[in-house]
Amino acid sequence: MKLEEHAAKSVVLRPAGAPIGNARLCASPEEVAEAVRAIGPAVVKAQVPSGKRGKAGGIKVAETPEEGAEVASKILGMTIGGDVVERVLVEEKAAIAREFYAAVLIDVANRSPLVLFSTEGGMDIEEVALDRPDAIRRHVVDVLEGFGEPEARAMLRGLELGSAEAGVVDILAKLYRIFRERDTELVEINPLAELKDGRVVALDCKFVGDDASRDLQPEIAAAATPDKQTELERRGAEVGLKFIQLDGDVGVLANGAGLTMTTMDVINHAGGRPANFLEIGGEAYTKAETALDLVLSNPGVKSLVVNFCGAFARTDVMAEGVVKAWETLKPSVPVFFSIHGTGEDEAVALVRDRLGLEPYDLMEDAVKAAVEAAQ
């Protein structure tokens, strides 16, 4: 679950008491002009999930309402990172003294929360990280101990933040609380600005929530940017299948993410191109019939590999689903099976008797045959 800037600020930062600028979300140049009239000199920012808005020309300053309408008419309708800009955030123009970087995220390798802070915030933080890793302070948190203001102060020691220190300490502690309470994978503020009047304010915010916590965080789930999906991907999601449409011509139906990725890899290795990723791991193995319907609805598919290796998933149940779907859909594309593991004997017998096909012993051979058939 990803939030755009305006949603991250209103749904996550504001309720936590983290300082943000006075702003309004607008969808037309007229609304922007009105907002600038009310707020004063402002920054007009495209609301899209991409992180490269500034470099793409999606962030402009407007001193007057007229200027606001003018820059808004340029930004609205732009395409940034593949997304058309439909809304802009009009935020009071801040008099910035210094730009910092702050984030709290899951550090997968340490299985711990990680707090990051740098005095060199702004657009090029990734380069700072690579060129001068010392410029970024890292604090690995013991989740049973937590992270509050004392830990934040210890983390910032020696950075000479001066009058900004109290504000930074406050926001770091709040970001950690957000991280724990809002099922966060990443909450990032870049820039975290020290203003000329001494306030410390979050000028931007990026938020990624944990998909597994959708039910625990209904407000975030509702505000999240929907995934960009094709019609088939949307149909897959509706029945709980993760289907990704690709531009190749060899359809893939396998069980488990690991085996599915491997089938795609072997298709590439054999000189072909996979038409989809589709995960029917875990309990989803019972949805083979629906899954096959999805794979075959992709107009690019010229041949199909069915690669089952049953551990938890029973290949006889999956094969039954495939055979049923095949008899209903009567597709014209050739299909190549490889079936092993739990339920193998029954599954192979089903494919033989009902479809008159002989599964390949090695998945590599099934893939090769499918790649040749697609060419």
Binding site: D107, A109, R111, L116, A212, M261, T262, H269, M363
Partner: protein, 289 residues
């Protein structure tokens, strides 16, 4: 994390459909399943073993070496903390989609208690000829047979395929360690590699990785010090990289985690990296020739 016959297994969620089905399979293979947990059915007997209200209650009466978790995602944290509090030394977590904040707490608590977590989202561990814990076809002699190849896999289905290929090539397995498909797992590729290096019955290792994370790179640092031959397949070469974490992700991983980075690190450590799963068996058969 290598199952040994005689090790006593507690099944948390034993009365559910999957808990029942797989407990039976484990018992058929000779795994010593000694008790189960379901708070609503304490006092009953299920599959011939007593059911307790909690792992803490169970271990008061019956010593358990390993607990296996067949509990849905939202209840998994409490079940695992229960097993940790019961003093069980190893917890095999099959559950997928446990909220990440819960997973952080699970690992922190396990670390304090000195408890080994395998998973989450693992298919389990198998020692052919001795027993298995989890949802692997450990009881199927066409897939697993006793031998000397140690197998490490994030994925259950792909791990099963590798073991099947090895068995057909005449190479039995000393142990299968399913480490799990989640990003934050308790037993890493490197942990499993170290265990197999110490295991006298293991003469060679098949290491099945996946793109994402930096576990294969970390395992490569240890592989460099090993004398046992290792063959590796990394799944996901043709999958697009996950961009979700953006800047912060790049700050943490520093460009590692992709297919090329993993393959290079492993090859530099002397690991034979192959292009298709079947080549694992061919590469390791060559070692024995």
């Amino acid at each position: 994390m290598i199952y040994r016959s005689g090790q006593k297994v507690l099944v948390q969620g034993i009365t559910g459909k999957q808990g029942t089905f797989w407990s039976q399979k484990m018992m058929e293979m000779g795994t010593s399943v000694v008790a189960g947990v379901n708070p609503k059915r304490a006092g009953e007997t299920h599959l011939g073993v007593p059911v307790f209200a909690s792992a803490v209650e169970a271990t008061r009466q019956i010593a358990c070496d390993i607990s296996v978790i067949f509990v849905p995602p939202m209840l998994a944290r409490d079940a695992i903390v229960d097993a940790i509090d019961a003093g069980i030394g190893c917890v095999v977590v099959l559950t997928e989609h446990i909220p990440a904040q819960h997973v952080l707490e699970i690992h922190a608590r396990a670390k304090r208690a000195g408890c080994r977590i395998v998973g989450p989202n693992t298919a389990g561990i198998v020692t052919p000829g001795e027993g298995f814990v989890g949802i692997m076809p450990g009881h199927n002699p066409n897939i697993f047979k006793p031998g000397h190849v140690g197998v490490i896999s994030r994925s259950g289905s792909l791990g099963t395929l590798i073991c099947l290929n090895l068995t057909r090539a005449g190479l039995g397995q000393s142990a299968f360690i399913g480490i799990g498909g989640d990003p934050m797992i308790g037993t890493t590729t490197r942990d499993a590699l170290e265990a197999l290096d110490r295991d006298e019955r293991t003469h060679a290792i098949a290491m099945i990785g996946e793109i994402g994370g930096t576990m294969e790179e970390e395992a490569a640092e240890y592989a460099r010090t090993m004398r046992k031959p290792i063959a590796s397949f990394i799944a996901g070469r043709s999958s697009p990289p996950d961009k979700k974490m953006g800047h912060a992700g790049a700050i943490v991983t520093g460009g590692r985690g992709g297919y090329a980075s993993k393959r290079e690190a492993l090859e530099q450590a002397g690991v034979r990296v192959v292009d298709t799963p079947h080549e694992i068996a061919i590469a390791l058969a060559g070692v024995y020739a």
